[in-house]
Structures are given as structure tokens and as C-alpha cells.
Assembly symmetry: C2
Homo-oligomer: 461 residues x 2
């Protein structure tokens, strides 16, 4: 494209009327954004976290290194208080790289790209080989189960993302039940293992891991479970159409070790007028083990750190207390978020707002809000201040897993909503690396958060 | 991220009231979008254009192949009319890969990544070596020029993108004057060549080409001109700080051959009620020669093709005529756009709207509008129909270079505005390849265009 036109004149007057009282805020928000776009360190923090520390599953040495790195970074920013909150976390390890094959008497033998789901038990050392039954719904599974057609088989959950969902998180929400309870549902009817189609919009050969839960009330039997790449899922499904006796071989050596000690990392700037009113901002520090956890959730954690940096750099003294938290163990236990909420309750703290960034470091588009109608109305009255930054959508109710438990303590929850189109291309897969993060998008997300934090600190909720 | 929340309930009631008359439109727009997201061929078209045909600078065999490919594709879609519009286009060729070195007596010799700007003359076969003068403004150039400090030197234009501009097209607009008229401005004061910092937000070692213009009224001397990567620009600037006599060597063998015959490709679906009212939709088929021209503008051209596909696939009979145009030679001459406008005038055609997609295939965020206030008000009254698709911004005035000349014939101009953050990372550089395009983002852009086309065809302007 060449530039032929005059510059865009942003005049969202048909959306909202801008009152005089907002013009000072508008200047401050511009100042915050300019500083982040020109001097922000968020991208540099993420570079370190991804390229120097790397994958940091709870209980791993890398998770411990990430705790130390962010603790020292917060210290270096000169905020009022920096501390760690101890919590015990699960320690699951993948073991040797998984192997899998599709075996068809008609068509031959094919390697398949799989990975164990987080929390899965191992296969026996020699692996498991069994015929495959493909299902797309729980009804289908139940019907086959009651007919005895699941017993001794491997269940293959192959319900794909609904591509007509504009928000990819909706498509995820409509498919991820297969990953979560598929293993126990399969075991209930005698399955010996389960395979789930990777949770992604993209057709490629990367398997995507993620949490699953053995649910005792469904079945007390724990069967090995893995995710298969979407290309593998398509191939397996296609082979099953011509050969009902296709077998699958998988070998996994993952195991759950004793819980490890870990920490949330907390940094705080005390409020100048209402120090007792706390605004929590966070992302999670842990990631899955297959990649660097750049978008999930290095981005959100480092954006949260950036809030502290920009407030200190600009000498902004927030009227209410700002507390940034690097939550531990969001991916497979939520122990950090749970511990944080427990301590908040124990200490009779008053959390007026909790803001999480855990949907990627892509261009910000809005915030989900969970709170009273009054709070929603108040926040939406600020929307025109965000419009020129491409942040326009305050209609959703997204929050974040780590902050969810603060709701019952009266906190209003906010979730940063970035553009979601590319998120599941990388989510929980080996491709979630620093190289896929765009600096400006990441910094604009941090800026959107900083703006919201500033306004809440200034005006309360 | 794990999904902890209920699905997003989109309720933009605070933005607009949805009237009853819009509910049928809403259903039709959903149908159009669903078909594009599930069955769209846009991504496949772009794959072919990029990976089978490749870079297609005006006058090249690849540009001719792209004409033939899109002509045949339109034919295969079974639209009412498909034809070509002949036009003569410039034929500039890069020649051998350029070489360049930074030479400093203090610091040594360094290779530099450069590319000739489109339209540049060659250096002598032995290259040019001269001292470098860095400037960031025309005032600075003029001052140095009047002091005789430009004569015999190479001018290095190093005004960077303004990172505080949220829309990267604004930053581009504020810097690209250096590329356009830098060569003539330098020549005016006796420069022997000019270098310009690549037009990008990204710090990397890829040079970005683009058009320049020798302006006779500024200087009749044509000097060779190139773009240097941002990494190279930073290095050169840094060396100049400690050594004022840094020299630069460049060798380029580009040349302008005689004009070639080429074509716009046009496909039309006749309007059922007002066939005389024409809605033009387009992108440009030509690209720079360094890469596949995926985002610029394979994306926009193929999105336009997709409009024809989806209207035919769903059997939509538009009330007004829809005409999709693959414009030729946007990058270095605009001959296709000019020819199209000439013929429209000659044939007394009535173009009510012209819609261009030439800002990349990223997630759509809105449309710029150039038209009367009545037209803007009318289009903005449709905005709530777009909101759930992430398309919310109708405040800008972007159009498109190819359609610009239809304005004086009374056409209202519309430019698709995708998210702009990543666009200039790739623009006119070797990295603008198919692999950086996200299928869903591309298809959502096509969907936004198809929705706007549907509404204009239905209701006029």
C-alpha cells in the first residue's frame, strides 16, 4: 500500500460525548501510552523470560528461576513492597518424548504427533496398542459405551473448533470439555486410553497439551491420555472411514512427583489517598513445558510488570494501592491464585478490582467485566478514552482464572481481551515462542491495562 | 490460559439500538460470514498467488500470470461478466542483488543490507563511494545544502517511525516523504546518491523497497537511491557519531525498460433492481519484487475475489451491480486505477461506492469513509451489525490508491482498516510471504467487506 490519504481523524463523537473532566485524564493516558511505546521494557522482560529461562511448568527449576527473575526485577523498579507468597504446587513431568503410531492393515503404519496431557499417567513401558473409536459428543460415547463398544479400545475425541465463532475463546470453550474429562468418561466405559484432537483452529502437525482431570465420581480408573495434532486427527479420522479396525500405539512415560514449594511474586505501590483499596493486576508465571510460554502467559505476566515500571518511571502516585502479582501454577492447579485469595481473606484486605491478562499479547481490543451494573456503567463511561488506542469493547464478562476467587471477596474482575484470532495457533504447543510476539501489540496491551489501572486508582469503582 | 468463565455475551446495547428492520440483515450477514469462515477460498487463492506465482512487479511475467490466474478464477465462479482492461505499465527491474558497505577508518568495514528503491537509476558499474551526511528533516538538509556540505556526498535520511502513533499508517505517512522525494531533494544540493531508513517499526536487517519519484521541478539530476535496513541505519548513524568521515559504498544495476502491456481484471454480478448503480471492490494484483506480496496486496485482491465467490455460493442476487477489480500497477504508477477511472468516465458509469482492501489481511477493525455526511451517517447506522465481528471503527477517512480517482465521479470511497500493528514489519520487504498470513484474519477481512457490499447493494447510499 502507498499512502494516498490524509491522516485518519479520530472523532468518535457518535459514540460518546467527551466531558471536560476527561481531558486531563486523556492527557495522562497519552503520557502513559507514549512512555510504554517509547521506553517500555515489557518486550525485553519477555525476551529474558522466554529465551533465557524458557518453559516453566510448576515445580520445574525454570519456574523457580522465573520467580527469582521477576522478584529481582520488581526490586530494581523501586516499588514500595516486594514479597513472595509461598504455595505448594503439583509437579508433573513429561518424561521421554512420547511416541505414537497409527496402524492400519489396509493402509500401513504412520507416525503420529502426540503429547501427553498434563496430569496424565504413563502407559506401561511397552506402550499401549488398541483399536480406536472416534466420537464427537458425549451422547455418542455413551451410546457406544452402553453397547460395549468402548471396552478395551482407545477413545478418540475429534470434535473440532467451530470456525464460525468469531472469538476463538468461544470455540475453545465449546471443545475443551473433551480434553478435561475425556479420560474419565472413556475409562467409565472401559477405554484403555484416550486421544483428543488438539485445541486449535490451525491445521498443522503440532500437538497442543493442556490440563485434564481424572474425576473420581465418573471413574476411579486413570487411563493415559494424549493430544494429537490436527493433521494427525484428520488422518486418523480419515483412515477410520475405510478401516474400522485401525489401531493406535502410544508410549508415554510422564509421572506426577511430590508437590514442590513455589511462590507468587508480589510488588506493590501504596495508594496515596485510599491505601486500603487494592487493585490487583496479574498474569501467570508458569507455562506448559513444550515451549517458552510466550503468549501463555509470559505476555500477561510481563505486561503486569510493565505497569509497575511505567507508574514509577512517570512518578505517578496512585490514589489507591496497586499490587502486581505473578501468579504461580495457573496451568495445572491454580494453587497460586488460590493461595493469594486465601491470604487476602485472612488479612481482611479490600480488593476493589482484579485485572488479569491471560489471553495473549496480541493487539488489545477491550476488557471483560464481572461486576455490578453500576461498576459496568462507570467503566463504560471511560470507553471513549480508550477508543483512539483501538480498545473499544467493554461488553464481555471475561476475567481470569487466577483472580476468579477474589470475586466472592467483592472484587470486580477485569480480563484484558486481545485480538483472539492467532492465539490458539500456538496455545500450549511447541510454537508458543518469543518470536511470534509483536512488540507493539504487547506494549499496547500493557498500555490498555495501565490506563484502566490509572482510572480505577484515580476514581475507584 | 484455561477457560474459567462463561461465554462472552455480546450485548453492545450501549452503543446502538438494534431496530427490527436490521434483524433480517443480521441473519444474512451471519450467513455470509459463516460461509466464508467454513468454505471460503480466499486463503487458498492467496496460497496459489504467493507460492505458485510469487512476486509480481508490473511488467514481469509473474504479473501476467497473476492476471491470467484471476481471470480464470473469476470465470470459474460463474459471475455474469469477466473481462480485462488493457493498460500500459512501467517496467522497472532490479538487476543483480545490490551490494553496499559502510567504511570507517576508525571502526572498519561492514556489509550493509540495502535494496534499490523502485524507479531508481543504477550506479556506475564500479559503484559509488562517498562520505555520508545524515539528516532527519528537510530543514536540516536545506541548511547543510546551503552551506555546501551536501555536494559530492551521500545523503542518509534517518527519520524513524514515530512509535507513539497507534495507527502505524500514520507513522508511515509521517516518514515516507523521505523515500518519495529524498533523491531529488538530495540531488538539488549536489548529493551523488541517497539512502533512506526502511519504512518499518521493526528493528531488523531487512531492507524495505517502495516507490520514489524523481521530481524535475526540484532537480533534473537523477541519483541512485536505496533503502537500508533499520539495523543498518542504526549502525551507520552510530558510526557517524564517532567518525564524521564515514563513507558508504553502493552498487546497483537496476533499470527502467520500455512500458509493458498489462491489465486490470474485472468480474461483475449484475444488479437485479438498479444495475446501473455500481459498487466497485478491489485490491491490487501487482506487488514489489522482493517477496510474494502476501499482505501487500495479495490479501486485498484475494479478499475481493472472495466476495464474488460467496455471493455466487449463497445465491445472493445483489440489487445493485457488484464489480470486483484486480487493479494493476498500484505500487509504481497507478496505471490500472487510472485506466479504470478513465473508462468509467468514458462509459458514463455511475459508481456509487468503491471499496479497497490494501492495508493487509490482518483482523479487520473498521472502514474509512470518504463521502458526504449523509453517507457517513447512513453507514455508521449499520455499525452495530458489524460489532460482533470485531469491526467497530467507522471514524476514519481511508480509501485506497486505486479507487481514489473515482471520487471526482461521485463515488463514495471505503478502505478496509485491518489491525495495523504488524503491517510494516513486512511491507515491501522480503518477509511479506504467505506464511505470515493468518487464515482466519484474512477471511474475517473478506467477511467484513462482503457485509458492507451486501448492505450497500441492498440499500444504496
Amino acid at each position: 500500500m502507498r499512502l494516498k490519504h490524509t491522516l485518519l481523524l479520530l472523532s468518535p463523537v457518535f459514540l460518546y460525548n467527551i466531558g471536560f473532566s476527561q481531558s486531563n485524564d486523556s492527557l495522562m493516558l497519552r503520557k502513559i501510552t507514549n512512555d510504554i511505546m517509547l521506553n517500555g521494557k515489557c518486550y525485553g522482560y519477555l525476551d529474558y523470560l522466554c529465551n533465557r529461562i524458557g518453559a516453566r511448568l510448576s515445580g520445574s527449576p525454570q519456574a523457580a528461576a522465573a520467580v527469582e527473575y521477576t522478584y529481582q526485577t520488581m526490586k530494581s523498579l523501586g516499588v514500595d513492597t516486594v514479597f513472595k507468597q509461598e504455595c505448594m504446587v503439583p509437579h508433573w513431568v513429561r518424561g521421554e518424548k512420547e511416541t505414537a503410531k497409527i496402524l492400519s492393515d489396509n493402509s500401513g503404519e504412520f507416525n503420529a504427533s502426540i503429547c501427553a496431557l498434563g496430569g496424565s499417567v504413563a502407559t506401561p513401558p511397552e506402550g499401549i496398542t488398541a483399536e480406536v473409536v472416534e466420537v464427537k459428543s458425549w451422547d455418542e460415547l455413551k451410546k457406544l459405551g452402553l453397547e460395549g463398544k468402548i471396552k478395551g479400545k482407545i477413545v478418540f475425541y475429534n470434535r473440532a473448533f467451530d470456525e464460525t465463532q468469531i472469538q476463538t475463546f468461544h470455540a475453545y470453550g465449546m471443545a475443551v470439555d473433551q480434553r478435561h474429562r475425556g479420560p474419565s468418561e472413556g475409562a467409565k466405559y472401559g477405554a484403555v486410553a484416550t486421544i483428543v484432537r488438539s485445541m486449535t483452529n490451525k491445521l498443522d502437525d503440532n500437538p497442543h497439551t493442556g490440563a485434564m482431570h481424572y474425576v473420581d465420581s465418573i471413574s476411579k480408573v486413570k487411563v493415559p491420555c494424549c493430544a494429537i495434532s490436527t493433521v494427525g486427527a484428520e488422518q486418523l479420522s480419515s483412515l477410520l472411514k475405510t478401516d474400522a479396525h485401525v489401531r493406535f500405539y502410544l508410549k508415554m512415560s510422564c509421572q506426577t512427583l511430590p508437590d514442590e514449594k513455589s511462590y507468587n511474586v508480589v510488588g506493590e505501590i501504596k495508594g496515596s489517598e485510599h491505601p486500603e483499596e487494592i487493585i490487583v493486576i496479574g498474569g501467570h508465571l508458569d507455562s506448559w513445558d513444550l515451549a517458552q510460554g510466550a503468549q501463555d502467559d509470559g505476555a500477561g505476566a510481563m505486561q503486569s510488570l510493565e505497569i509497575l515500571r511505567v507508574f514509577k518511571a512517570l512518578g505517578i502516585k496512585p490514589k489507591r494501592t496497586i499490587r502486581v502479582v505473578m501468579f504461580m501454577n495457573e496451568e495445572n492447579g491454580l494453587r497460586g491464585g488460590t493461595k493469594y485469595a486465601e491470604l487476602a481473606k485472612l488479612n481482611h484486605e479490600k480488593h476493589i478490582a482484579a485485572i488479569e491478562s491471560d489471553a495473549g499479547g496480541f493487539s488489545p481490543r477491550g476488557f471483560g467485566i464481572t461486576g455490578s451494573n453500576e461498576v459496568k456503567t462507570k467503566v463504560r463511561s471511560w470507553a471513549n478514552l480508550f477508543f483512539q488506542y483501538g480498545v473499544y469493547d467493554f461488553t464481555g464478562d471475561e476475567g481470569g482464572a487466577d483472580i476468579e476467587q477474589l470475586k466472592e471477596q467483592g472484587a470486580n474482575l477485569f480480563g484484558l481481551m486481545p485480538d483472539s484470532q492467532r492465539y490458539f495457533d500456538y496455545h500450549h504447543a511447541a510454537t508458543d515462542t518469543f518470536s511470534i510476539v509483536n512488540k507493539r501489540e504487547l506494549h499496547l496491551g500493557a498500555s490498555a491495562m495501565a490506563m484502566l489501572v490509572y482510572l480505577i486508582a484515580e476514581y475507584g469503582l
